[in-house]
């Protein structure tokens, strides 16, 4: 008997006006696995993530976190279900009115009610896990480079030792070396925590580095899911076109051809 998925989406649909962004999307994230969702811009990856996190409400479908249907839950219950999750945003989304350590310790203090001195110690410990020294703790996020902000964002995402971590385009805006550093940190930190992770990305190299399984989204639906090491010879025309970066293929681009 297989274990229940950590996250399960069943026939989730979401539209903005007459634009159908998610179209009966179904996807499972298994316990302890790293699932990377790839797909072109505007295919619904971010919208899917926002629906799971409760930032957007889908029109139909079901979303389960640890077997609990989270759609339609009262706000307080939804907030409680998010206690077991962490999230690294595309551009880190650090609170610029707070110093680095308070950003990292935010969830510990606000949602878990931890006292400031204890939370500060944990924040410094988490910062060291992402390769940042304690001298960074008092700095303002505005003084950091994008690579450092992402590392602080990662420290914030893992600060409460969550069971599930979401990563939104973790390597976007970074040079290849820093992108590699972030990928390694994500892999090491999540393995250490034993967390299940859902990453959305269009960076194939990064996806292959951090994924156990990869799913490809096209026009709001999953068109392929498989093991990360199978992606090169998936036999799926959508995956082949996306991996090779070909213009010709079943994936239609929203651009005018010359």
């Amino acid at each position: 008997m297989t274990a229940a998925p950590k996250i399960s989406l069943k026939n989730v649909s979401k539209s903005f006006g007459d634009k159908h962004v998610l179209n009966n999307l179904s996807l499972d994230v298994r316990e302890g696995e790293s699932l990377v969702v790839i797909g072109g811009s505007g295919t619904g990856k971010s919208v899917m993530l926002k629906c799971i996190l409760g930032l957007l409400e889908p029109e139909s479908g079901e979303i389960y976190i640890d077997g609990q249907q989270v759609l339609g839950l009262p706000r307080a219950e939804r907030e409680k279900s998010l206690l077991k999750t962490g999230m690294l945003f595309q551009y880190a989304a650090l609170f610029d009115s707070l110093p680095v350590w308070e950003n990292v310790a935010f969830g510990l203090m606000q949602a878990h009610g931890m006292k400031r001195p204890e939370a500060r110690d944990i924040a410094i410990e988490k910062l060291s896990l992402v390769g940042l020294g304690s001298e960074m703790a008092g700095k303002s996020p505005a003084d950091l480079s994008m690579g450092m902000q992402k590392r602080v964002g990662l420290a914030r995402a893992i600060a409460t030792n969550p069971e599930i971590i979401f990563f939104d385009e973790p390597t976007t805006g970074l040079d290849p070396i820093m992108g590699d550093v972030i990928d390694n940190l994500i892999r090491d930190c999540t393995k250490r925590l034993g967390a299940s992770t859902l990453t959305i990305s269009h960076d194939m190299e990064s996806a292959q580095k951090i994924a156990d399984r990869i799913a490809l989204i096209y026009k709001g639906s999953v068109v392929w899911v498989g093991q990360a090491d199978q992606i090169e010879d998936s036999g799926n025309p959508y995956v082949e076109q996306f991996v090779k970066g070909d213009i010709e293929g079943p994936i239609e681009l929203d651009i005018l051809k010359p």
């Binding site: 996190l53 409760g54 930032l55 907030e79 206690l83 999750t85 999230m87 551009y91 935010f106 979401f166």
Partner: protein, 258 residues
Amino acid sequence: MELNFLAAIGRVTLRFMGAVGHLTLFTIQAVRNIFLPPFYMRLFLRQLMSIGYYSLPVVGLTALFTGMVLALQIYVGSSRFNAESAVATIVVIGLTRELAPVLSGLMVAGRVGAAIAAEIGTMRVTEQIDALVTLSTNPFRYLVTPRVLAGVITLPMLVLVGDIVGVAGGYLVATESLGFNPSSYIKNTFDFLEARDVISGLIKASVFGFIVTLMGCYHGFNSTGGAQGVGRATTNAVVSSFILILVSDYFLTVLLLD
């Protein structure tokens, strides 16, 4: 042609009613959340400083020069029918009932309302508000409640200071340039001043404090479209605060007249 005209009116009306409904729900939520835990004392105290203490110079200067000008203008008018002795009474009643609350409200709207809209608007477009949600923190209680509560409490205090400074400004002009006797000016100031003159001004100030902070939060919270959207939110927060302060001032005056 006529149908097009009617359709345009219908569209504008629907849009207007939609905005009114949206604002009403936001207002209800703002008031409701004041009485619901958790209460962020640290943030509330920070807002007391930001809205109250740092607005003292601008409110004080406005009140000082308003009191001075008022004494001059009323002297010119009242001397036409030999009623110069009314200058002190009119200055104090004009300031406490009307000018100190309205002008302080407008000045704080320009200073604080704009800053609130810009700060929350930036948090919206940089996903910081989404980050609050993922950290199991209700962004409404974290961002809106402390600001609205601080606005309601601090604006009456500012107006009280404005009353005193404005009366002092009138006293200075009356005694130094217009030749009034200092002790009889002070006597005339307090002889006809009633507690309800001051209290009605403070009630107005509290309502204006609510309007200014609510408009800043509302427009910031709902800003879209990057830097341009934040700029638009800031402008809308100030303009709508100005209009609502002036309109509500009339109705509050009617309500508090007796």
